[in-house]
Amino acid sequence: MPVNSLPDSSLSDVIAQHQQAIVDANVTAQQTTRAAQLMTADDLRQQSKTLLDQLQRGNSYDPDAPEFAPLRQALAKLSRTRALQGFTPSETARFIFSLKDTIVPFMEQQLAANPLDLARQIQAFNRLLDAFGLTTFETYVEERESLIREQSSALLELSTPVVQVWDGILALPIVGSIDTARTQQIMESLLTRIIETGSSIVIMDITGVPVVDTAVAKHLLQTGAAARLLGAEVVIVGISARIAQTIIHLGVDLSAVVTRTTLAKGLEYAFARTGQRVVRVAASLNESAQGE
């Protein structure tokens, strides 16, 4: 028999004969952990029982065996519910590992007559539960990652409003750093808004962009070029002294777009381009008070 081949499983027999005792031992063992605070004894009993049922039905030491497919699903579900209840992933894994302590004594009883077989089975059983413990950990990490992905895409949607500040003038305040994915998203919403509002000028405010490097500059220019293809002109405003210095030191050529320091200056330019002018209609309150 090759060393790494798996011994025939007695799991089914052991669990079938002692299920009640194993569940009891398991629930008792968990009473000393945080499980006692985070979930009810009934839930805990139910979880232990489900796992045991599935182990019994699988009756193998190969964690990838097709018989264990429902068990793997049950583990994923368990990992999710426990994460929601506030368990750490290692606590969940430890819960799976704890089955070793409760099942092995019964295996010893059952196979006392054949110590060699017992040793081999215990070792294989250990490996099996180790693998299942890791499965719960993996599920946990996957859940986390999908959550992070969802949140970052939601953040992306929220982070770039396109506002119409005047008839034919759009403003696009950008806050935070810009990468390729965000540029794509900005471009899409900007271009759609240009068409919707029939705007001919876009004021892109980069006051809230912490660092302007060559990549960011490239993304800004790309957005500008895309808007230009639709027939709208882009003005970049919010260029501080520091950003101006960085841009020139990096050798970035922004001469293809009009740039201004503040949003107000940008608006002034936009008015001039669209042939409009802001005129004061009366003396302000202060001045009229002085005049009297």
């Binding site: 794509q184 471009m187 240009i194 068409i195 029939g198 001919s200 293809l229 639709l230 027939g231 709208a232």
Partner: protein, 121 residues
Amino acid sequence: MAQIPIIHLSDVLIVTTQDAISDTDALDLQDQITTAIERTGAKGLIIDISALDIVDSFLGRMLNDIAAMARLMGTKTALVGIQPAVAITLIELGLELRGISTALNVEQALRTLGARIARQT
């Protein structure tokens, strides 16, 4: 191919493309437009591509070429009605069409072209 209508409006030619343009159509278009410019002596050319959902690199280059040819014949070109998706694709292809002026719609294009033609004469 179907003849693409070229409308002659005072000093300006207006070309409205159909929903899809094959490569040979594009070459034909080039020929038709330059011939029309020669015949009419128009000072402005407006190409409306709002019906196009897809513009590939070939068509992009072709539009650039048409504008360059028109410029050689003393005619100013404005490209009108580029769809957002088309604009994004063109930028990704690196075709910024720097040589052509653009406008949101034909009305705006007429206004800007008119101003540019007036400045020239």
